[in-house]
Amino acid sequence: MMYETREQAVYAYVTRQSQDLFFVLSRDGRILQANESARTLTKCLENVTTFSDLVVDFASTFNLTGLFQTPEVPHLLNIKTTTGLPQSYDFYFEQVQHLVLAFGRLDAREITHMQKQLLSLNQELNNLTRRLHKQNAELARLNWEKNQFLGMAAHDLRKPIGLILTYCEFLQDEAARDLNTEHQKFLSTIHNRSLFMKHLVDDFLDVSAIEAGRFDLDLQPVDIPNVLSTSLEINRLQARKKGVILQVDMEACPKPVFIDAAKIEQAVTNLVSNAIDYSRKGDTVRVRFFPQQDHLVFSVEDNGPGMSRQDREKLFTPFSRTRTKKTAGEKSTGLGLMITHKIITAHNGTLHVNSTPDRGTTITVTLPLINQFDTPKE
């Protein structure tokens, strides 16, 4: 297009092609005209008809008339845009007769600087993500090696510990009469500590299997009250020895359930044993079992010292110990609850802990009444 004058050509560029904003305003701030860029970016003249409505003005101090008085000074204004993000422009205001011309300019240097900084930050973030993934893979490999070692060590220790226990029991049965009281105590200590070591090694084997993803279930149809009764026999002895009352309330189960009986026994014994460990002489541990809709519910309630929220959160973490002490100083591997949790979740069950400091703890386990065609998830 040919123009008569240079001014016409410049005006045509400003109104049609320029990325700067250009407004023609009345002295009271109404928008009379806007260039293509301003109309596209702000939808002014369609939705907004006064200049002050385009401006983000948190402090409600925007005074357009005041800005007219200093045409040589740029005024930083944040303009609402159709993208939802405000954009900062340096505005110059020129009074021409009864009109005001407003020119908004982006700070290209600032934008370029910001663009470069954002790119660098993004690159750094991506490089850190790469390092993180690499280190995660390395940690997973090391963890696998640790589990292999743990599994092998535990497996190799099991036999000698078993021998110590057997010979110890043999001496207690056969030779105790020939020993004085002090030596009998030595023997008893060896037996107790060996038994603890055996539990520890068994737990290590379970944990290494769990962490290596080799936690297989041997699912068989089982009459679950029978399994619970067997498990609770061990706990009854423990409770009697400590003077804790074990109160059991069991309902019949409508049908056999497909579970790994040995592992569920282990889980139940673990939960009840824990409750007894944290109970004082004369306290009651309540065990309840009942079917509920399509689930079986098993709960263990004690009146022990309870746990804080922080302790509850790390309850199923290996080797974690709560700040609460067992009432008779019973030893713990710190693995029992983690293994129990794994056993229950492997059966598609849930384990919920409700505990209040100084009031006691209730652990509730639910197991689905699954049929033989369902396969529990690992």
Binding site: L119, N122, N126, R130, H133, A137
Partner: protein, 214 residues
């Protein structure tokens, strides 16, 4: 397998800045168990070279080129869990490589993909990132004592910086092998590389594996 139609669709979405759609395509390819080298060469490298070409011929803006690069780099993060898991399970060759971009070279995605291909071939690759000053690169080499150094240059006018990097390495580590590569070489520069001993030019990601897998 990346068909021509899939590649064209991906490139269109990439140039449109549609990060989510590109991520869906890459995730689907990963779910279909595509070989990572194929993904890198036939999708990422091919599309980035095309984007670079469009920029060099003023068909797209710097801002668009940066956006596309940032999207591609984000997509590499989708590959990493599988890449490093595979790299840690496959046999390691106990060799170490340091990959760096030339000084003032702000395009790092090519160098990073090279580092990843080294990982897949059993190497421990350390990626130093974009615009690595020469003294920092030398200090890292001194500390890590790699078996090989890779230098990446994407923009032709950074070729002098690449030469400075090579000369600094050669001056400090006489027998350390150097591999160079990047889109900048589409405009020339391979003759210059031949002047330096123990320095080789690798024209493409798919030519890298045969060199380093032995």
């Amino acid at each position: 397998m990346i068909t021509g139609a899939l590649y064209q669709n991906y490139l269109t979405l990439l140039l449109d800045g549609d990060r989510r759609a590109c991520a869906q395509i890459v995730q689907q390819l990963l779910d279909d168990d595509i070989a990572i080298q194929t993904l890198y060469h036939d999708l990422f490298q091919k599309s980035m070279y095309e984007v670079g070409r469009l920029w060099e011929f003023n068909r797209i803006s710097v801002a668009k080129e940066h956006l596309v690069t940032a999207i591609t780099e984000g997509l590499l993060n989708l590959v990493y869990p599988r890449l490093f898991e595979k790299a840690s399970v496959d046999s390691r060759n106990e060799k170490k490589v340091v990959i760096s971009c030339a000084a003032n070279e702000f395009h790092q995605v090519g160098g990073k993909m090279v580092a990843d291909i080294f990982e897949l071939n059993g190497w421990d690759s350390q990626f130093l990132g974009a615009n690595t000053p020469v003294d920092q690169m030398l200090a890292h080499i001194q500390e890590e004592k790699p078996d090989l150094v890779g230098l990446s240059v994407s923009v032709y006018f950074n070729m002098p910086a690449l030469r400075s990097g090579i000369e600094a390495i050669r001056g400090n580590f006489l027998h350390l092998d150097i591999l160079v590569g990047g889109q900048a070489f589409n405009w020339g520069g391979t003759e210059i590389i031949k002047q330096y001993s123990g320095t080789a030019y690798v024209p493409s990601l798919d030519r890298l594996t045969p060199l380093i897998s032995a």
